[in-house]
């Protein structure tokens, strides 16, 4: 299986990501790890809450993987995103890509996180010392 997608309320694991993407015929593995930043844009973050519409999120993430695997056959991809409440410093998202050439692993890993942020039905609510805010909801 060349791609693995994990949407979970449990803590994410970088080791599981590397275990999935590491392949003897590949020399390069790029992993992006997004964590809860505090402060964020000047606001003191207490925690974040993530929710997702799981069937559509899975399908959208599979589309992203298929797109990359069709351009870079044999790549391995691991995408995991945390759901529920996440504390400052904890991991929100792990994207891992392995491939024969390191340049493409950087590019594909970067493309996946960019696309995930733009198209995948996952929503983030910030709880700050000033209250609760759904991120990116308003113009």
């Amino acid at each position: 299986m060349d791609s693995m997608i994990v949407l979970t309320y449990d803590p994410l694991s970088i080791d599981l990501c590397f275990e999935h993407i590491n392949k003897k015929s590949h020399g390069g593995n790029c992993i992006f790890i997004g964590t809860v930043r505090n402060p964020n844009k000047g606001k003191a973050i207490r925690h974040l809450d993530f929710e997702s519409h799981l069937p559509m999120a899975h399908r959208e993430l599979e589309n992203i993987c298929d797109q990359i695997l069709s351009n870079y056959p044999g790549s391995r991809i691991y995408i995991s995103h945390r759901l529920g409440q996440v504390e400052p410093g904890q991991i929100v998202v792990i994207i891992g890509v392995s491939g024969a050439h390191r340049k493409e692993t950087f590019e594909n890993c970067s493309t996946i996180i960019d696309t995930l942020k733009q198209t995948v039905p996952i929503w983030k609510k910030e709880t700050t010392t000033d209250g609760e805010f759904w991120v990116n909801a308003f113009p």
Binding site: H81, I122, W134, N136, F138
Partner: protein, 80 residues
């Protein structure tokens, strides 16, 4: 015609519930449905965008809504 509306993110707060059952009079397109919804829940008008999926597929405004469709509200996403 009855439809089930499922609201995520900020739309759940605006509708006051994850699931809302609605009665629609006669055939309605996605575009018309969005207007009906925005009139009933005016907070929706302030969102940066409001995508509508039917039975877990993204739609265009010209698409017809059918009886018993599950309509998912997709406010601006913010994962990652």
């Amino acid at each position: 015609m009855k439809v089930q509306v499922v609201a995520f993110g900020i739309t759940k707060d605006i509708l006051g519930s994850r699931n809302v059952r609605m009665d629609l009079a006669g055939p309605v397109t996605v575009g018309e449905f969005r207007l009906i919804l925005e009139n009933r829940f005016t907070g929706l008008k302030q969102l940066k965008s409001l995508g509508i999926a039917i039975n877990d597929r993204y739609t265009r405004d010209s698409m017809e809504i059918n009886d018993n469709d599950e309509i998912v509200l997709i406010p601006p996403v913010s994962g990652g």
